[in-house]
Amino acid sequence: MNHPVAALRDAEVSNLRPFYKRFQAAELKQALRRMYLIRRFEEGAEDAYTRGLIHGTMHLSIGQEASAVGACMDLRKSDYITSTHRGHGHCIAKGAEPKLMFAEFFGKEEGYCRGRGGSMHIADVESGNLGANGIVAGGIPIAVGAALAIKKQQRDDVAVCFFGDGASNEGAFHEALNMAAIWTLPVIFVCENNKYGMSVSTERSMAVENVADRAASYRMPGAIVDGNRIEDVSEAVMEATTRARSGKGPTLIECKTYRIRGHSKSDRNRYRTKEEIEAWQAKDPIRHFETELVTRRILDESDVTTIRAEAEQEIADGIEFARNGTDPVATEVTRDVYTIDPMADPTT
């Protein structure tokens, strides 16, 4: 495993930005691979939906892969994340297997939630993902609670809380940030500001320009980063996790990004222009990272091709795995409502 700096002269090493100092070539490749996986996973899910293989709805994060992967790169398995309705990327970024996610989308027993949760509740608890959430801002106080548990248990783990610009208008956001601050909890609030809460722009829904401006009310650092540049996201999160792990409390990071697809399957894109979408497509986070890695000689073109091909294959295999999964049986509709079945005689 070559360290990326190995190819560089000493003088250049000292000029390297923290992202390239912190991560080895293998980790950078893994990050790019996960970004591809997210993109292909969502395109595969969209295709399966269009072909009628899966039902319900889904919220795609295509265009937002850098914030998901960048925020999770420096995390341990024992760190938590809470996610959102647009959570496929977070799930893969924290280490979930696409085939088990596809199995969930297909409603199969093999899925992460045994087919009971679907796209909006996908979670891989084993990898520290406490779950996507169908309620805007629902996961924010939960992340603060997980951070409170970390502090009580005297661990040096952190909780990373993903949410969108829309969630920052909810009361739960403000209540949760206040508690995280007064109790100095190890939580990092990662806002993926994709400009729209469904159809309503941040200009129309927020009195301040930036979500990060709201950090001042809760006496925590508020950073703004280019959410389409993985290195910018990752460096901000590294700084925040260092702060959190050393007991200095929470940070709010706002990643300015954009969702290329509509809000959900019902979106007719009436609230934004084609030009706006195209302008953001030109800032594609995957292409940016790929170019960076090749320019820095960490990867060459053939590495990129290989990573892409492997991701394609993993997604194709995942869909096949999911299609062949086990359907839940109808008599098990109340399974797992409770840990202990309360209809069983409590005296026995």
Binding site: I140, E175, T339
Partner: protein, 332 residues
């Protein structure tokens, strides 16, 4: 030689359960508004903050939704939070976290996690606190799969159900009646559990089954004594748990008495009485019914401030006596 009976108030019994649970399990901690040095609005937590410290008896900001969510997150990450709403009415601010999150997380995640969370709700009327501090909302939460809902009526049950709730792996909602905090009763000193999901027959009888909850158990027992002097022998069942309901106890009682009255403080319509009536009507006890089912519940109105109106808004002992007497003498 019998040891003297040890009596505690309902509030003291809860405090003892909280203390013993915290002593037994370092994962247990308390959260709520003014539960620290203030001792809680009803002095339930009292001096616990001095015994266990502010980290385990945590005052929260006045932020019911956020704080409830923090409790949910802490439960998911290995703690055993016991959350106090200052008044049950304020839980309306936190329903998102209770109903959408706590109740459903285990199910939505395919059984991969549990949410061992206890929430305490000081509820009910009779304190002159009017419409936003007096409601009985337990039926709301009893409608939600994933939650367990209990309503202790005695100091003994207040302690035993709370310890059982804290040890339960799933979210348990405990509705405590504010007028009961000062009543006294026998409470063993050692920790013990009252099983969730089991009703208790408080008075055996043959003429009618009165299924009551919380403070209405006491009013029903008073009514039963008055009715006994008239030759009406009422059986009084303390439901204790709303979800899961103890169907067998109710059904067996109605098969024995042939009559059913449901007495509860929550608004009468679409409340717990409807569910008990329906479960009896759907069961083999239906064939044993000799009279229409009687429901005594709260008025179709918010709880009023005026004391006369406040009393009129929920069943009183004399209401139970009159309605049961009418039912037994076919004057309904």
């Amino acid at each position: 030689m019998n040891a003297p009976i040890r009596e505690l108030s309902y509030a003291q019994a809860i405090q003892e359960a909280l203390a013993q649970a915290m002593e037994a399990d370092p994962r247990v901690f308390l959260m709520g508004e003014d539960i620290g040095v203030y001792g809680g609005a009803f002095q339930v937590t009292g001096d616990l903050v001095h015994r266990f410290g502010a980290d385990r008896v945590m005052d929260t900001p006045i932020a019911e939704l956020g704080a409830a969510g923090v409790a949910v997150g802490a439960a998911l990450a290995g703690c055993r939070p016991v959350f106090e709403f200052q008044f049950s009415d304020f839980s309306a601010l936190a329903l998102e976290q209770i109903v959408n999150q706590a109740a459903k997380i285990r199910f939505m995640l395919g059984g991969k996690v549990s949410v061992p969370l206890v929430m305490r709700f000081p509820a009910g009327s009779g304190t002159g606190a009017a419409a936003q501090h007096s409601q009985s909302l337990e039926a709301w939460l009893a409608h939600v799969p994933g939650l367990k809902v209990v309503q202790p009526s005695t100091p003994y049950d207040a302690k035993g159900l709370l310890i059982a709730a804290i040890e339960d792996p799933d979210p348990v909602m405990i509705f405590e009646h504010k007028l009961l905090y000062k009543i006294k009763g026998e409470v063993p000193a050692e920790p013990y559990r009252v099983p969730i999901g089991k009703a208790a027959i408080r008075r055996a009888g043959t003429s009618i089954s009165i299924v009551a909850t919380s403070i209405m158990v006491h009013r029903s027992l008073e009514a039963a004594e008055i009715l006994a002097r008239e030759g009406i022998d009422a059986e009084v069942i303390d439901l204790r748990t709303l979800r899961p309901l103890d169907r067998p106890t109710i059904i067996e009682s109605v098969k024995k008495t042939g009559r059913l009255a449901c007495v509860y403080e929550g608004v009468r319509t679409l409340g717990i009485g409807a569910e008990i009536s329906a479960l009896v009507a759907e069961s083999e006890a239906f064939d044993y019914l000799d009279a229409p089912i009687l429901r005594l519940g709260g008025a179709e109105a918010p709880i009023p401030y005026n004391p006369v109106l406040e009393k009129a808004a929920v069943p009183q002992t004399e209401d139970i006596v009159a309605r049961v007497r009418d039912l037994l003498t076919n004057r309904i």
